[in-house]
């Protein structure tokens, strides 16, 4: 199974999960197939109830698939039981939205727990725990209890604990959803570092596109128990296909039209066109708008836009207004420069 050049650390094959309920069964997952690339950060995004949490819990056997097959590091989770399943779980770390730290153990004690469970000898536990606490930057707080820590610090303990048994896969269950934006950034940066330095495969679920934008190499979009779109993060941002993906993106890429513009767009209008231009890669830094004016004599007025970095590459979009009669020429010119355009409508 490792014959493909970039092999998968986790594979889902036609996985379904149904919950028995009065009057039939409710499907949490409906024939989901997904490859999670080894050594990468893959994000699964979806609204609550989309099935992403169930999907994540299939990876370490906290939930069992009703049908289909889940493989982790070449081992079949769907059939693993008892000792086999527990040994598999030690190769898969997990962090949680609400941290799930033991209140009556110190930072040190919490990080030591998975090692005690694995039966590691005490001196070795002490050595590893000290190193892990340093790794997540909590050296000075080793003897504090969770109640004495901030949310971000608690999640760092969670991360250190998840890494204790030196897993090859890390599962993240909305790890930043309970944190403020600044702390979220710090925790995401830590996950990115861990991914780079330890070569750890990370599978995370989130309902925030910003998390995907900031650290994921790959993304799968879920809706109603199915994966509706999947691909490299950059491609999904640059060229989203599914309406669900678009709605997730609208919140983070500045593609939501400001109200005053949206109100001016009239169905079937024939006034000036509202055009959205998407810049990706190198074109993001080209001065196309000024050239549009200089070379074609088209006056485009800027209504809104943004430029940001996704997976290390620049990505931007711009909403402009151009005269209706100049629209075909403007689009032709922009397409010739590898820019994507979308006519949002006409001002009435």
């Amino acid at each position: 199974m490792d014959t493909t050049p970039s092999h998968a650390a986790i594979t889902f094959r036609e996985v379904s999960k149904t919950w028995p309920q009065r009057g039939g069964a409710v499907a949490a997952l409906d024939r989901v197939s997904l490859d999670v690339q080894a050594g990468g950060i893959t994000g699964v995004i979806g609204r609550s109830g989309a099935g992403k949490s169930t999907l994540l819990r299939l990876v370490n056997g906290l939930e069992r698939a009703s049908a289909g097959r889940v493989e982790v590091l070449g081992r079949d989770v769907t059939t693993a039981r008892g000792r086999e399943l527990r040994s598999l779980r030690r190769d898969v770390g997990m962090i949680f939205q609400h941290f799930n730290l033991l209140a009556n153990r110190t930072v040190r004690g919490n990080v030591a727990l998975p090692l005690e469970i694995a039966g590691v000898a005490r001196p070795e536990i002490d050595r590893r725990v000290a190193r892990l606490i340093d790794l997540v930057g909590l050296g000075a707080l080793a003897d504090r209890y969770p109640a004495q820590l901030s949310g971000g610090q608690k999640q760092r303990v969670g991360i250190a604990r998840a890494l204790a048994t030196e897993p090859k896969v890390l599962l993240s269950d909305e790890a930043t959803s309970a944190l403020d934006p600044e702390t979220t950034q710090a925790v995401l940066a830590l996950l990115r570092d861990i991914n780079r330095e330890l070569g750890l495969t990370i599978l995370l679920i989130t309902h925030e596109m910003a998390v995907v934008r900031d650290i994921c190499h790959h993304v799968a979009v879920m809706e109603a128990g199915r994966i509706v779109e999947t691909g490299e993060t950059y491609d999904i941002f640059a060229n989203p296909q599914d309406p669900v993906t678009r709605s997730f993106l609208s919140g983070v890429t500045g593609t939501v039209l400001p109200g005053f513009i949206a109100r001016r767009i009239v169905p079937g209008g024939d006034g000036p066109a509202i055009l959205r231009i998407t810049f990706a890669g190198d074109s993001a830094t080209h001065p196309v708008l000024s050239r549009l004016g200089a070379e074609l004599g088209i006056d485009a007025s800027i209504l809104g836009g943004s430029i940001e970095e996704i997976d290390g590459r620049p990505f931007g979009n711009l909403t402009v207004q151009v005269p209706a009669d100049a629209l075909p020429r403007a689009q032709e010119y922009l397409h010739a420069h590898d820019l994507r355009t979308e006519v949002l409508g006409h001002v009435g």
Binding site: M94, Q148, T165
Partner: protein
């Protein structure tokens, strides 16, 4: 109160402590595992055994619904079998234990059920066995609650121990009835009541102090 009553009061106090401590200890030894099992054996739980859970729950409820004074006389044959006699302070330990164990089991069950489900999930994700989840997660996290519950159980046992005079069990309660009431010596009655209040107060304060020391759930003001 004449001076020759002091040794009698002292002896009765020791007898009460003896009965409460021994029945409390045996009650904990029986009640703790029972409580852990009750808390983890419903359908879909760690040690899922719904039928056994229901049966044990029934036994626990039955024992707890019998008024203590009736329990004392109702189990006299059983007491004779265990203690060799049905009369006296040692014999009184049998019904006290039988009252304490199910009480403690329910207390332990409640304390364990208070532990957040997320912790069990985290431990399962670490590859913990059910036994490890109980010993490394559930019991340590529930410990402050268990200690407070045991304190409550011991206070109740001090009260129950006053009733075992009915089967010749001695101790403070028995002394209060025989001297204070039947011989009409109000000073003895008063002394007994005062000693009981001091005992209960001491047990309660000590239990709360231990529980506080074990409990790290809330951030305490340590000049952080």
């Amino acid at each position: 109160m004449s001076a020759n009553l002091i040794p009698i009061l002292w002896e009765a106090t020791l007898q009460t402590i003896y009965m409460v401590v021994v029945s409390g200890l045996i009650g904990t030894v029986l009640g703790l595992p029972l409580g852990v099992f009750l808390a983890t054996s419903k359908r879909g739980e760690l040690l899922s055994a719904p039928a056994v859970n229901a049966a044990l729950g029934l036994v626990v409820n039955a024992l707890r619904s019998i008024p203590f004074i009736i329990l004392v006389v109702a189990i006299i044959p059983f007491t004779r079998m265990i203690a060799g006699t049905s009369i006296g302070t040692t014999a009184a330990i049998v019904p006290l234990t039988l009252a304490a164990a199910p009480f403690i089991a329910r207390i332990v069950e409640t304390a364990i059920r208070e532990v957040e489900g997320g912790l069990i999930e985290a431990a399962r994700a670490m590859g913990a066995t059910p036994g490890q989840i109980i010993t490394k997660v559930l019991l340590p996290e529930a410990l402050p609650g268990i200690v407070l519950g045991l304190t409550l159980a011991i206070v109740s046992l001090i009260g129950y121990s006053a009733m075992v005079g009915a089967v010749g069990g001695e101790g403070l309660g028995d002394l209060g009835i025989r001297y204070g009431y039947q011989r009409f010596m109000p000073d003895v009655m008063l002394a007994v009541v005062v000693i009981l209040i001091v005992l209960v107060q001491a047990v309660q304060s000590f239990g709360e102090w231990i529980a506080r020391r074990l409990d790290h759930r809330a951030a305490k003001d340590r000049g952080l």
